[in-house]
């Protein structure tokens, strides 16, 4: 948990990431197991073409690699999507759209980040207008490394995500919900006043209807 009193800056973020990834299996009931199984068999992907990685989504979806056989299929709008794929570097201008799209997705929702740029900025590490570490802004469930990662690795990534879903492991959206202040603070740091409107997430703190 992120508490301002407990830690400061980079250490806290590191701590947060480690704790979420290393969470142990909770005891799952039959229903949860079934639900998880169904969820992992059907992933609707909002393939948001933010960067050059978008080019790799086409072979993934079409006949060559045919992601549909794993139940992975495109979705037109964030409302229907389960997985948000951030395909490559993320300009600050795009970040706002990505955040908004992510917040508009219905839980449970997952994020797959594609390529090195999302991990550490990659070749844009010193660019003034790309973000370096996506995880500071939205919770990433799966990083797929490479520049660019080939469709095979993407499938690998999806499989890993599916496995995690099947196991019922807590995923990024819960983290986002729990640490909304931190994420928002980070977002505000790069976006300034140009933040997405608050009404898409403010019910996190206000309680559900």
């Amino acid at each position: 948990m992120y508490h301002k009193s407990a830690c400061e800056g980079f250490q806290c973020e590191q701590q947060l990431l480690e704790s979420s990834l290393s969470q142990a299996d909770a005891g799952l009931g039959v229903v949860e197991r079934l639900v998880g199984w169904l969820r992992q068999r059907s992933l609707f992907v909002l393939a948001y073409g933010t960067g050059c990685g978008a080019i790799e989504m086409r072979p993934l979806m079409t006949s060559r690699f045919d992601a549909e056989r794993f139940g992975i299929i495109g979705a037109a709008t964030p409302r229907q999507a389960d997985v948000l794929v951030i395909s490559g570097y993320l300009a600050i201008k795009t970040l706002k759209r990505v955040i908004r799209s992510y917040e508009q997705m219905q839980e449970p929702k997952y994020v797959i980040a594609l390529g090195s740029c999302t991990i550490n900025g990659g070749m844009y590490w010193d660019s003034y207008n790309t973000i370096k570490c996506l995880d500071h802004y939205i919770p990433v469930d799966m990083y797929v490394n490479g520049c660019m990662p080939r469709p095979e690795s993407l499938i690998e990534g999806f499989s890993a995500l599916q496995a995690r879903i099947g196991r019922g492991e807590p995923s990024g959206y819960q983290r986002y919900r729990d640490n909304i202040d931190w994420y928002k603070a980070n977002q505000r740091r790069v976006l300034g006043d140009n933040m997405p409107p608050a009404y898409t997430y403010d019910w996190y703190s206000g309680g559900a209807v």
Binding site: V35, S42, D66, R69, G71, A76, Q80, Q104, E107, P108
Partner: protein, 301 residues
């Protein structure tokens, strides 16, 4: 009472299962045509259940919530007003209290209810989709209804059961005795199934603007469910009207599947039309054939 309840449940269940399996088949069929493996035939179940089990659903007000409910209720009502079997007390629903014209109108009750929900979401893209849908409906309904009217005229009744009962052998199938009517109806029927090439309205993946743009979570699951049921309901209606109905459930499935295969083949072959092209097409080709059919049926016979 209990009989009707059981019967209704059986019809709904049959529709649900048949619908998802048929759609699953359709996906796989399409994938094979595209030299892919395609998803499992059960994939639609997974999708549907996943949506029904989403933990969060966003609504835009009460009407938005009730829209999918109305459309689902409409689908169930439609299913129950269509007799599935002939000469049987099972799978009849309440079809004795309805008729063909009522069914035609019931087919559009749901979509219109859903259109309200789309409107109340406030998303202009959704409303654009609704307008496209209504436009397509306007286009397809004319030849569709005219074809049905030819059948009604032929049998001088609007009761589906009576029409079914009249087709006691293959030679008396309306497909044989009134092929023009079938020819008229086939393409509008595909359009009413939201099948390619007339599927620009609710293109599930490619087109952003469609009636479902704001639906997510469990509401989308409800929408998918009714869609599958409606598909089967329309297929069964066609079987009843043109393929002589069915005496048992296997015959029903076989005939419905045959018809489904035909529509699938057509869908997979032709590229998508724009809405106004669709309407224009329906008002020229099928309507032209229908007028021909009217001339043949009314004046020459």
């Amino acid at each position: 009472m209990l009989h009707i309840l059981l019967d209704s449940l059986a019809m709904i269940a049959l529709c649900y299962v048949m619908g998802f399996l048929f759609r699953g088949f359709y996906r796989q069929f399409n994938a094979r045509l595209q030299r892919r493996w395609g998803p499992s035939i059960w994939q639609n179940f997974y999708d549907n259940l996943k949506f029904l089990l989403k933990s969060e659903t966003l609504i835009h007000g009460p009407m938005f919530f009730f829209g999918p409910i109305i459309i689902a209720a409409g689908a169930i009502t439609t299913v129950l007003f269509i007799p599935f079997l002939k000469d049987s007390i099972w799978l009849q629903g309440v079809s004795a209290h309805g008729n063909l014209i009522l069914i035609i109108y019931l087919l559009v009750v749901g979509p219109l209810g859903n259109a309200l929900a789309v409107g109340s979401s406030g998303n202009p893209f959704g409303v654009m989709g609704v307008t496209r849908g209504l436009t397509r409906l306007m286009g397809l309904e004319v030849p569709f209804f005219l074809g049905l009217a030819l059948v009604m005229l032929q049998h001088e009744t609007a009761s589906v059961q009576a029409i079914m009962a009249a087709q006691d052998s293959i030679a008396h199938w309306n497909l044989i005795t009134n092929p023009l009517a079938f020819a008229v109806i086939l393409l509008p029927f595909i359009a009413s199934q939201n099948g390619s090439p007339f599927d620009v309205v609710g293109a599930p993946v490619e087109v952003y603007a469609g009636p479902r743009v704001e639906f997510g979570g469990r509401l989308l699951g409800v929408l998918m469910t009714q869609n599958m049921m409606m598909t089967v309901a329309k297929l069964v209606l066609m079987v009843d009207l043109f393929l002589g109905g069915a005496s048992n459930i296997f015959e029903l499935i076989a005939k419905a599947f045959a018809l489904f295969l035909l529509t699938t083949a057509i869908s997979a072959t032709f590229p998508r039309l724009k809405t106004e092209q669709t309407v224009d097409f329906f008002w020229t080709v099928p309507l032209g054939v229908a007028v021909l059919g009217v001339i043949l049926n009314v004046w020459l016979i």
